[in-house]
């Protein structure tokens, strides 16, 4: 059953017409609830397609990934002027560079808020992140003139935690939702711009369906994001079924709730304990374990590492990760993509050959 997902543009217009503010948020991890408590609606910017890349290219070298190139182009096109602020989590050297460039040089009309994410999972990392979130709160309070109470923060946290839980259930029931690869990811990724309430309603209606298990060779995807999204259709055409993923934008954001009743600490606990992600400094061993468990749970037969060109955080782990998975009987394929171009025929052929191999 096709799902009726509102368009991003319409959602933004609706938010604005209701007096809400919009935060353009760059990848990857950030506290949605903190923004919502200020009546700020996060709309994520993952290197949008169809931008004039030459705009970013005039200030960024060609060896910077397309997500960053596109984001800068998008900002320079004026496409983010609708946003009341830009939030950029500290994800990698390239996004760090972009943030700095925006703050010191480009100076877009909307204020830029950086957010440092600690690279460890120690108690000191949680304490630091809780303080970093408080400092973001102070900045947002100055921008909006509001000061949400702890109760308001906790209510926003509860809404997002419900969405996290629903996203987790979508993955659990993935094979009986009756959704093809593309529809499943369109639904999941709608959370990149939908308010929590709307996403929750969509997710619940999808979860209410109980369809016959989908056919196809079960496989996992890993990387930053499934773009260009045509890869999902392509996999389906080749009789592959994406049963779960380790995408930074999807599976790695299945946050568990924090434990603390104190809102900042609770948000920090949840972000720090998220599934392993190289951009948050997780050890390779944690990632191996995560992928192996995911494959066991979903009966996946192989992994496609679907990577954005020039993404160092992903590239460093790959050899060890693939070797460790192979030792545990999980074969993998590594593909690098340029998210601005359609998939080349050669990539399609390699995916086809990989799926064929999995079937024998």
């Amino acid at each position: 059953m096709p799902i009726n997902i509102p368009q991003r543009k319409a959602v933004i217009q609706d938010i604005k017409s209701r007096g809400g503010m919009v935060a353009a948020v760059l990848p990857i991890h950030y506290p949605r609830a903190l923004l919502r408590a200020f009546n700020i609606f996060p709309v994520e910017v993952w290197g949008p397609p169809r931008v004039d890349v030459s705009l970013g290219g005039s200030q960024l070298q060609s060896y910077v990934c397309a997500i960053v190139q596109n984001a800068l182009s998008f900002i320079k096109m004026g496409a983010l002027e609708i946003a009341d602020l830009i939030l950029i989590p500290h994800t990698c050297d390239s996004l760090q560079g972009l943030t700095s460039l925006l703050i010191d040089m480009v100076k877009p009309p909307s204020p830029v808020f950086p957010l440092y994410l600690p690279r460890g999972r120690r108690e000191e990392d949680v304490i630091f992140l809780a303080e970093e979130l408080q400092s973001l709160y102070a900045g947002l309070a100055e921008l909006t003139g509001r000061r949400p109470t702890d109760a308001e923060l906790l209510a926003a946290i509860a809404r997002e935690e419900l969405c996290d839980q629903l996203s987790g259930r979508l993955y659990e029931q993935r094979q009986t939702l009756g959704l093809g690869n593309l529809d499943f990811y369109r639904l999941l990724r709608s959370r990149e711009y939908l308010p929590a309430e709307e996403f929750a309603a969509l997710a619940e209606s999808a979860l209410a369906v109980e369809a016959a298990p989908l056919p196809g060779t079960p496989l996992l995807l890993s990387g930053i994001l499934p773009e260009p999204m045509m890869v999902l259709d392509l996999i389906e055409e080749m009789k592959g079924l994406v049963v779960a993923d380790d995408f930074a934008g999807c599976g790695r954001r299945l946050y568990r709730p924090g434990l603390s009743p104190e809102p900042f600490r609770r948000l920090a606990e949840s972000l720090v304990a998220a599934p392993p992600d190289p951009t948050r400094g997780n050890a390779i061993g944690d990632r191996v374990q995560f992928l192996v468990e995911m494959a066991a749970k979903t009966y996946a037969r192989g992994v496609i590492f679907y990577e954005v060109k020039f993404c160092e955080p992903e590239l460093f782990d790959l050899p060890e990760l693939r070797a460790a998975l192979k030792e545990r009987g999980l074969v993998s394929l590594h593909i690098e993509v340029d998210i601005n171009n359609p998939l080349p025929q050669q990539t399609a052929t390699r995916i086809g050959a990989f799926l064929e191999m999995l079937n024998h």
Binding site: D93, Q96, L98, S100, Y116, E312, P313, F316, D317, P319
Partner: protein
């Protein structure tokens, strides 16, 4: 630690190796020879201190060859707070410095190739590729590297080092201490500083376990003092470039900076830089400049191109151009004021969160503008280093503003600091030639 290893260490390092290296250095000092390839027509004779630099670097790697099983060994990132490890008696290896040495000796293509054959992409930093290739193949131009008992990664230069050290930690199966230093976009936040300090405090037990001894805080203070002394001397050395003609070029600095990077906190390093400063002062008194006929003065931004140091020194020297200052070498001196021995951990935290690479692109632009004035510069070469995104992103705009707002010629050169395969010989030569011509206009 075993007696056999200690005996080997004393025999090979203390009894034979070091005396031999000292003898070699004395020979070089008493009978200075200038290589036939040295362009004496355009460059002044090499600094006398060069023999001592060679000795110090050789001693360092010689010790490394025999350190395993005798001393605890730590591998650390170039901006890591090493004072605690120094005080605990670690032998400290800097894979980035080793990578630079491999670059100078032309070993990068082979070593990086070993990493690439194992699946590491050519799109990751060439220092990391060189190091991982050296680890996987066991090859190095310095004979042998001691395996680490401990790894220390500090994110104050880039996030790349953490990814790289995660690979090393998995390979060697040793503990990795992370000192995470939040990036300073505009103002250093108190909670960031406190975070670094707490990590330093919490790292001590793990470092003590790997060292097999307790940290002596008196010794730590002495080491912080030695680091501060060496760093201050290095800054003075760099500042001698204010003189006309400049007594040393950045190509000299790139070579003589090895001790300030990999031997901070040692008495020998302080003595070395005191001697270098003395030699520079003598040269200044005698009117000797690094480039014989210095007409123009430049700034270098970003890492050196290790495999082309000589080419740049000679090509620019031929045109009477001396590159007298660099944001890169300056980074090792500008932190001296933050070091103090009263509250060593707080001082270490402040020092190591503040390097230029951990600060915004506007700070770097302001540093370049200040250097242009202080060193009376005529132009800037910005090396856009394919490997080093944290240093390179922002350079295009920095160059534009230097040209527009500071009215100073600035050239952006695409290359890679260690991997010669990313260096387009003809293209660099023609862009450099056009730039030199423009300087004369």
């Amino acid at each position: 630690m075993t007696i056999i290893n200690s005996l080997k260490y004393y025999w090979n390092v203390k009894l034979t190796g070091q005396p031999f290296l000292a003898w070699q250095r004395r020979q070089a000092e008493s009978h200075p020879k200038i290589s036939a390839r040295w362009r004496s027509d355009i460059l002044s004779p090499p600094l006398k201190i060069a023999a001592r630099t060679r000795e110090l670097i050789s001693r360092h790697y010689l010790e490394g060859r025999y350190a395993a099983g005798h001393r605890p060994v730590a591998w650390v990132t170039s901006g890591a707070p090493v004072e605690i490890l120094q005080a605990l008696g670690f032998y400290i290896l800097y894979p980035e410095n080793h990578g630079a040495l491999c670059g100078v000796r032309g070993a990068v293509v082979e070593l990086s190739g070993a990493a690439e054959n194992a699946g590491y992409s050519t799109d990751i930093c060439s220092y990391a590729r060189t190091d991982i290739g050296s680890v996987l193949s066991g090859k190095t131009p310095v004979g042998r590297l001691p395996p680490p008992d401990l790894l220390l990664a500090c994110t104050n230069i880039c996030q790349t080092v953490l990814h790289w050290y995660r690979v090393l930690a998995r390979h060697f199966q040793v503990p990795l201490i992370l000192i995470d230093t939040p990036f300073v976009y505009s103002k250093l936040a108190e909670h960031s500083l406190e975070y670094v300090k707490i990590q330093l405090e919490n790292s001590i037990p793990a470092a003590e376990r790997a060292a097999g001894r307790k940290l002596d805080y008196r010794r730590l203070k002495e080491i912080v003092q030695l680091s501060k002394d060496a760093t201050e001397l290095w800054q003075e050395i760099i500042n001698r470039g204010h003189q006309r003609p400049a007594p040393l070029s950045v190509f000299d600095q790139f070579i003589h900076m090895a001790p300030i990077v990999e031997m901070r906190g040692q008495k020998a390093t302080v003595d070395f830089y005191a001697a270098l400063l003395k030699e520079l002062d003598e040269n200044i008194a005698n009117g000797i400049g690094a480039v014989r006929n210095e007409r123009k003065r430049l700034l270098w931004d970003n890492l050196p191109i290790w495999y082309r140091l000589r080419y740049f020194a000679e090509y620019l020297g031929e045109h009477g151009i001396c590159v007298v200052a660099s944001t890169y070498t300056n980074a090792w001196g500008e932190l001296a004021p933050f070091m103090n021995t009263q509250k060593p951990l707080a001082a270490i935290a402040r020092t190591y969160i503040s390097p230029i690479l951990n600060q915004g692109t506007g700070y770097k632009l302001a540093t370049m503008q200040r250097m242009v004035t202080e060193f009376q510069l005529d132009g800037i070469i910005l090396h856009s280093d394919r490997s080093c995104k944290p240093y390179s992103i922002g350079q295009i705009e920095q160059r534009n503003r230097l040209i527009q707002e500071f009215d100073i010629p600035a050239l952006l050169l695409e290359a890679d600091h260690d991997d010669p395969r990313a260096y387009a010989e003809a293209q660099v030569a023609s862009r450099l030639a056009a730039f030199v011509e423009m300087l004369d206009d």
